[in-house]
Subunit: 117 residues, 2 copies
DNA sequence: TCCATAATTCCTAGATACTGGAAATATCGA
DNA sequence: TCGATATTTCCAGTATCTAGGAATTATGGA
């Protein structure tokens, strides 16, 4: 990932409404959620949500596929991975214990809590 | 971490100049880098850099300590960890292989490359 | 074809962020 | 104390972002 894409992704996430949408989709997994359902759950106007979904899509963080009258959005984990990689690149100045504990937290603290141990 | 802090941190990073600074400090480790040296390396005016360092500091992503006439800034890895945790919270809708590979990437792909295996 | 539902696009006033010149503050050495 | 260096604060013009009403497009059912 180059810096332009990283800034685009971070800008997309740097907004309360969009961050809420993204986290909802991250938690939803590959199944995704319809735009209308997202609007209902977060209680935001459809047009405002649509604009924000567009911003997240352009950043590559989510993707939508049409399903009948609905559009189902889901998180693009690859982009998220690339972004985190970019932030961590060549990190910690020769003290690997710093980011080891970071990755550990990511792995055990959260994902494990919902899925496997 | 609550959403307000997350948005503040993401907003701080969602800027080419600040992201460059942050990554430089992440790579520098606990030793840190003086403000003037950062300005020199990135070729930005001191006042512009100072404003951006303030924004990163307020977001809790970096911290500066005075050392003589200089101020040494360094990354606050705890905040970064908390932010990544927040993004990953309850992720992947019961498909733990998604974020397992993500954490794996963070751990092996980058940190290991610079520090230990 | 016609209607209802789902989502997006258009538009614009108001708010917020960005940059860098100039001035101010902090520290060190003489 | 005085001058040089390091950093921050003040300020203001410009640019960008935001929200949501109204209109538009897409799809499915009758």
């Amino acid at each position: 990932m180059e810096i332009y894409s990283a800034v685009t992704a971070l800008s997309a996430l740097a907004h309360q409404g969009r961050l809420s949408v993204f986290r909802m989709l991250v938690q939803a997994g590959h199944e995704g959620i319809a735009a209308g359902e997202i609007a209902r759950r977060l209680d935001v106007p459809a047009n405002t949500l649509s604009a924000n979904l567009t911003i997240l899509s352009h950043a590559g963080l989510i993707a939508g596929v049409r399903d009948g009258r609905s559009v189902i959005y889901s998180a693009r984990y690859e982009t998220m991975t690339a972004l985190l990689e970019y932030l961590m690149e060549d990190c910690c100045g020769g003290s690997p214990e710093i980011c080891a504990s970071l990755a550990d937290t990511v792995l055990r603290g959260r994902c494990g809590a919902t899925g496997a141990a």
